[in-house]
Structure formats: C-alpha cells, structure tokens
Symmetry: C2
Subunit: 306 residues, 2 copies
Amino acid sequence: MSLLVVGSVALDSVFTPFGETADALGGSAVYFSVAGSLLHPVKVVGVVGSDYPVLELEKLAPRGIDWSGVERAEGESFRWKGKYSYDLQSRETLETRLGVFADFRPKLPDGFRSVEYLFLGNIDPELQLGVLDQIPRARFVVCDTMNYWIQGKKDALMALLERVDLLMVNDSEARELSGDWNIHRAGRWILAHGPKRVVVKQGEYGALMMEPGRTFYAPAFPLEEVFDPTGAGDAFAGGFMGYLARTGSLTEDGLRSAMIYGAAMGSYAVSHFGIRGFEGVTLIDVQRRVRTFRDLTHVPLAELVP
Amino acid sequence: MSLLVVGSVALDSVFTPFGETADALGGSAVYFSVAGSLLHPVKVVGVVGSDYPVLELEKLAPRGIDWSGVERAEGESFRWKGKYSYDLQSRETLETRLGVFADFRPKLPDGFRSVEYLFLGNIDPELQLGVLDQIPRARFVVCDTMNYWIQGKKDALMALLERVDLLMVNDSEARELSGDWNIHRAGRWILAHGPKRVVVKQGEYGALMMEPGRTFYAPAFPLEEVFDPTGAGDAFAGGFMGYLARTGSLTEDGLRSAMIYGAAMGSYAVSHFGIRGFEGVTLIDVQRRVRTFRDLTHVPLAELVP
C-alpha cells in the first residue's frame, strides 16, 4: 500500500527557552515522512530552493523516504522562524519567507499517481484539490489545514472537505472552521460537511477522533521533558498514516491503533529540536511506547458492588 | 465503610454566558456529597450562617447525606460570586464573603471520628490538619487545596501532604505548588513530598492520576453543552471517594475505576447550573456513562504486521 505526503519542505529557525536552531530541516512533509517511515515507506511531493541542503534530505532516504517527487526550483527555500513561550504553550511567528513555495504547483511523477494513502499537508486548499485530481483512486485521503486558509480560502477548503476521508486539525483550527468554541460541536459541524471522521489535536492533552455518535480519545504520552513542539502534529499524521498504510486496516480498531502510533510519533518529535527526536528510534522503541499508551488509559472491567 | 467530607457549604452566585444564579446551594462539601451520595452515604462537616436555606439541604438528606455535622452559627453564610468567560475557560471571582466560615473550626461529632474514607475539601490546611487529628485511623485520606493556601500557608500544607494518601488538585495548583510548569514533573515533585498518589484535574481535558513510575489518564466526558463548570472538581472528588467507599477497593484497578466515576460525576455537574445537573440522575445513569467512558479510550490489542 503506497503512502504519499504532499507538503512543505522547509528550513526552520526555532527559539525555545531551552535553546535554538537555525535553518534546520523542517516542514510538514519532512516531519511526516521521518515519522511515517518508521512504519512504512513514504513518497514525498514538495519543492525546495537552490539553497536547500539536499544532502541532508538524501541522508534520510535509507529510512524509506522517496524524495524523487521533490522539485528543485531556482530561488530561496521556504523558511519559517518562530519563538515559543517559556512553557511552550504558545508561539509567535517571527518571520515567514515563502521563497519557491510561493509558486509551488504540485505535479506528481507518474509512479505516484496510483498511491493509496494520501496525506495533504497544510498548503493552499486549491493546491490540495489539484493533487486530488491527479490521484483519482486513493483509498484513504487525510488533509490538514490552518487558520490562514480557513480565513482566506474557505470555499476551496469546503470543496476539499467533501473529497477527503478525514480532516486532521488542531483545536483552534476546528473552532475557527466551525465557528463553534465547543470542540465536540465543532467536530460534529465538520462531519456534516464532508469527512467521515475528524481528528482534533490538542497538544499536550492528546487528540480526539470523532465520527458521528462516537469519539475516541488518545492522550499525549506523559513527557517530563519537552524541548520543541514544532512538527508534532505532522509527526502525528505520519505515524497515523504510516500505521494505516502498513496494516491496510481502515476499521475502527485500525484507526484507533493508528491514533496511538500517531501520538507516539508526536512524543518523539517534541523530545528534541527539529527532527532530532527521531534519531536512533527504532520500530521496537515505537512498539514499546505504544504499549505504555495502552496502560495509560486502561480502565479495568470493574463492576459496582450491588 | 463510612465516608466523610469536610468543606464549605456556601451560597454561590454565578454568571455564565448562558444564564446566572443567585445564592444557590454550593461549596465543596455540597457538590461532593450530592455526587458521592449516588454511590455511598456521605457525612458532612461544615458550617452555615443563620441565613442559610437549611431546608434546601434537608431536602437532599434522603439521597444519603448526613448533615448533622454541619454547625449552624450566628451570622452570614459563606458567599461566592463569580463570572465565567464566553467559552467557560476562565473565571473571575467578583466577591468572596467568608461570613461564619472565617471562624470555622471543624469539630467532629463523636460518631464521625471512626470514618474510614475522608475528603478534606479546600479549606485552610491548618484546619485540615486539625480534622486529621480527630480521625486517627482513617483508611484513605484525600485532600484538595488552592493557590491561596499554597501562597499563604505553605508550611502547614506541606505538613498536611505528609499525612494524606492522595492530593487532588487542578493543573494550575499543581504547577504553583511544585514551582514547575511541566505537569508530569510537578506530579513527581508532589509524590516526593508525601502522598502516594496525586490526581491532577485538567478541566475539559480530563484528569491524570500519578504514582511513581505510572500514570493513568481519565478523559473528560465529551459534552456538547456545558453550562456551569462550578463544582466540577468537587463532584469529581465525590464520585472518586464514593466509589472507593462503596467498593472498599484501593488497588490500582479500584482507583482507576474511581477516576472514571469521578469523571462521570464531573460531567453531570457542568451540565446545568449549580447542583441541578444531578436532578433525576440515578446510579443506572451513572453506570451507563461509565461504560461509554470505557469505549472513549478503548485501544484494541492490535499488533503490527511484521
């Protein structure tokens, strides 16, 4: 089952109370593929400028990441610079330089058009629709978005929602999209507008997966040390989709397990700067963390004394 | 197994975006006992002024609430007035009038000194210690506190922590007490200062129960309508302690089940103003909600395809 992510390949400069990075590998497609490739090979479609350290990307290829769909354009790469608050609960964007990303029009190599599992990272919903047009028979399509597109490209986004299986957003995006601050009503609103399921990420509190009449709650892994929340959501998506592509299971049980694998990947992402939290992590480590997740919410089958 | 709560019996005036109440029954001991009595009889120790609508309390007695330990003093009852933000995420205290509560010195009736399960609601830690002195052989003691005492009575509070089995606080209190914003490190700090377990309540995100090396996460019940968060934490405590007193089980499994009963009670508390969310709720309703909790976090025993 082939797995494709379309998203940004960026250079991130991040300031946290614990340190900083400059022009480190980042972007939704990078975090997604580094996490997802622990479970299943990942194909990537994106764009980098002539200044991108492509050798750094190539070093990641042996994990099972196919970068052949990443276009190399003349000009500057996409750069994001951000600063986190002392408790990592909020962040401020200091600078966004789109560079070659401004003219990005995803074109899929021929061999990519038959992929079955597709993650549309957070890019212009018109481009996300353009990708979908190139993959007529995807088995399972998940998309992300952000407040910028909710405000500026609502029509395209709503058209997109009708064509995806699952929307994966964070809680503030779900609230803004639905116009409802109650997260469960917001989820119901989204379900009424296309996707069969919606995943709402809530940072350190975990993530909800909702379908009509049923909700699943995956907590975040308890971490005493969090260094850099950047990319946690995309790493979550990589674990979620990697699990589905590996197992081929789209049942409720399969999707719940995928949520736990996603949460595990998110926990590696935040445990170091950039993608370094994944260094040395093996599938065995991931499995061990997944098992501790099960204990984290395990409720015994206790019955009341009458 | 007898169950006792020592705490406030108050008159609350609450303003939310959905309505308001004036001088409604409230206070930690009231919320605790209304919730806990769905599972087990509850004895209450507290104080009310000469203006308190004691007939309203008496109407609740048939639930299994023993108010005989509530002192009737000359003067005004404890009153709290608060206003919630549009999304119920934050609240402002408009007025606190201690009244007879200012001179409250809990004295336990003889029949109360042999109780086995004790919840020390959020009052001056010196008074909480005074209650403990009167109950030498309690089997399981849980206490609450708040930022006011953390700031003003830290020594007494630390002495109290060494004598309780479990501290139950919300996340901001855990952070302030430990001086650590990471909730898992904050929990570890608390465990190193006395209690064998700590429960950290996180509002709409649920609650964590930590012991050394192990964490349990109970999510909040998914509610599309929340009207008044006042008392949710005390109702949680009532469900938690009511379950333990009813079953007598202090194993990990028992405590986890107690967390789920607590979460269920919290969900009833917030679904209406004051204690009205409990009107008409039966043990069968509670059990049904507990079962849906289990599904909310149920992770299938999926194994990876090799």
